[in-house]
C-alpha cells in the first residue's frame, strides 16, 4: 500500500475512520471487531454506540457555536 493510502484517517471534528479489518479495544479493555469495509471510531466520547461513531460529535459542535 502506498503512503498516500492510509488506513487510519482522522476526520476534522469527527471520528477516526478505519479502512479494513481491525480489533478495537475500548477504555475498559473490551475488544470490538470491525464488521464493515470502513468503520468510524468515536473520538468525542459522546457516542451511544461506542466504540463506534453515531454522529453525536455534531451536537457538541452545535452547542459550542451557539
Amino acid at each position: 500500500m502506498s503512503v498516500d493510502e492510509p488506513d487510519v484517517i482522522m476526520c476534522p471534528d469527527g471520528p477516526m475512520l478505519l479502512r479494513g479489518h481491525h480489533r478495537v479495544a475500548d477504555e475498559s479493555g473490551e475488544v470490538f471487531e470491525t464488521e464493515r469495509p470502513f468503520s468510524a471510531v468515536c473520538r468525542c466520547g459522546k457516542s451511544a454506540t461506542r466504540p463506534w461513531c453515531d454522529g453525536s460529535h455534531k451536537l457538541l459542535r452545535r452547542t459550542k457555536t451557539t
Binding site: 464493515r36 469495509p37 454522529g55
Partner: protein, 313 residues
C-alpha cells in the same frame, strides 16, 4: 405494475407501454403538471431498474422513449436550477457541504416522528420512503464505472456496506422490507407509488437523473454526501419515535443500522469520495455542490409539504 396516470402525458405513455405500442412526439402530449411529468419520468427510469411485468423489457432502450425521457429531464433540470444555487465558497468541497448542511433550516420529519407523530403518520412516511428505500443505493451504483481509482474504491466500499457486505439479510433494502412487513405494510417493490406525493417523485428522479448520466456523476456523489451526512442523527430520532409508538423491532432496527452505517458513510462520501474526486477532476466541483444542494432542497420540500399537511411545521 405501472403506476396510475397523473395527467394526459402519463395516461398516453402508460397506455402505450402496456399495449407495447410505439410512442412518437406526435402521439405523446406535453405534461400538464409537475405530477404528470414526474410520474412519467419515474416510470421511464424504472425501465432501467426492475421494469414492470406488463412492459416488454426491450423498451428500456427504445429510442423514442429515451427521447421523451430526455425532454422530461430537461424540464426537470431547469426547475432544479431555479430552486438550487451553487455555493461559491472556497476550500475543500467537504467543508462547503458541511456548511450548507449547518445553515439548512428545513423542518425535520425525524424530530416530529421522535416526539409527536401518530402511528398512521409514521406509516405514511414509511410508505413514501419505501419508493427509495426498497432500492436503496441502487442509483449510486451507476456511478461506480465512471470514476478514477481513488473515489471508485471508496465508493465501492460504501456500496458494499449498503449491500450487506455480501450478506443478503444485512442488505439495506432488505432490512427496510423486513421493517415494512413487521409493520404490516406491503414490501412489494413500488407498491406505494400511487400514494407518493410529487416531492417524493422528485427526490427519487433526481437520484436517477444523477446516476444515469455520466455528466452528472459529481452531482450524484454530492447528493450522496448530503444524504449520508444528514442521516445518522435523524435515524436515531426515527428509531426513538418508532419505539415510542410501539412499532415492531425490525422497523426500528432499520434506523438503528443507519445511525452507525451512515456515520461512516458520511466521512467516506465527504472525504474519500467528493474531496478526492474534485482534487483529481476540479471541473467536477460545481456539479458536486449542485448535487449536494439539490439533496437538501428536495428533502426540505418534502418535509415542508408533509409537516404542513399535518399542521406540524
Amino acid at each position: 405494475m405501472l403506476p396510475a396516470a397523473r395527467g394526459r402525458l402519463s395516461e398516453e405513455l402508460f397506455a402505450a407501454l402496456a399495449a407495447n405500442d410505439a410512442v412518437s412526439e406526435r402521439s405523446i402530449p406535453r405534461p400538464d403538471s409537475p405530477d404528470d411529468e414526474q410520474i412519467a419520468l419515474w416510470a421511464l427510469y424504472e425501465l432501467h431498474y426492475r421494469g414492470f411485468d406488463e412492459v416488454d423489457a426491450d423498451r428500456e432502450w427504445d429510442p423514442d422513449l429515451l427521447r421523451l425521457r430526455r425532454d422530461l429531464e430537461r424540464s426537470f433540470e431547469e426547475r432544479l436550477r431555479t430552486w438550487v444555487s451553487i455555493p461559491e465558497a472556497a476550500g475543500p468541497v467537504s467543508e462547503v457541504i458541511e456548511k450548507l448542511i449547518a445553515v439548512d433550516d428545513a423542518p425535520s420529519i425525524a424530530r416530529f416522528v421522535q416526539r409527536r407523530a401518530t402511528g398512521d403518520q409514521v406509516r405514511t412516511v414509511l410508505q413514501h420512503r419505501s419508493i427509495y428505500h426498497l432500492k436503496e443505493s441502487d442509483p449510486v451504483s451507476w456511478i461506480v464505472p465512471r470514476l478514477e481509482a481513488g473515489p471508485k474504491a471508496a465508493l465501492a466500499g460504501l456500496q458494499f456496506d449498503e449491500y450487506g457486505s455480501g450478506q443478503p439479510s444485512r442488505l439495506h433494502h432488505r432490512l427496510f422490507a423486513d421493517g415494512l412487513r413487521a409493520a404490516e405494510l406491503d414490501d412489494t417493490y413500488g407498491r406505494y407509488i400511487d400514494e407518493a406525493p410529487v416531492e417524493i417523485l422528485e427526490l427519487n428522479n433526481a437520484m436517477s437523473l444523477f446516476g444515469l448520466h455520466r455528466r452528472w456523476r459529481g452531482a450524484g456523489l454530492g447528493h450522496l454526501a448530503v444524504f449520508e451526512a444528514t442521516s445518522s442523527l435523524p435515524s436515531r430520532q426515527m428509531a426513538q419515535g418508532l419505539r415510542r409508538l410501539g412499532f415492531p423491532e425490525p422497523v426500528a432496527h432499520y434506523y438503528d443500522e443507519h445511525v452507525e452505517a451512515d456515520a461512516v458513510h458520511e466521512q467516506l462520501a465527504l472525504r474519500l469520495i467528493c474531496d478526492v474526486l474534485v482534487e483529481e477532476e476540479p471541473d467536477q466541483r460545481d456539479s458536486v455542490l449542485f448535487g449536494a444542494a439539490t439533496c437538501l432542497e428536495l428533502e426540505a420540500r418534502y418535509a415542508r409539504k408533509i409537516l404542513r399537511q399535518w399542521d406540524a411545521a
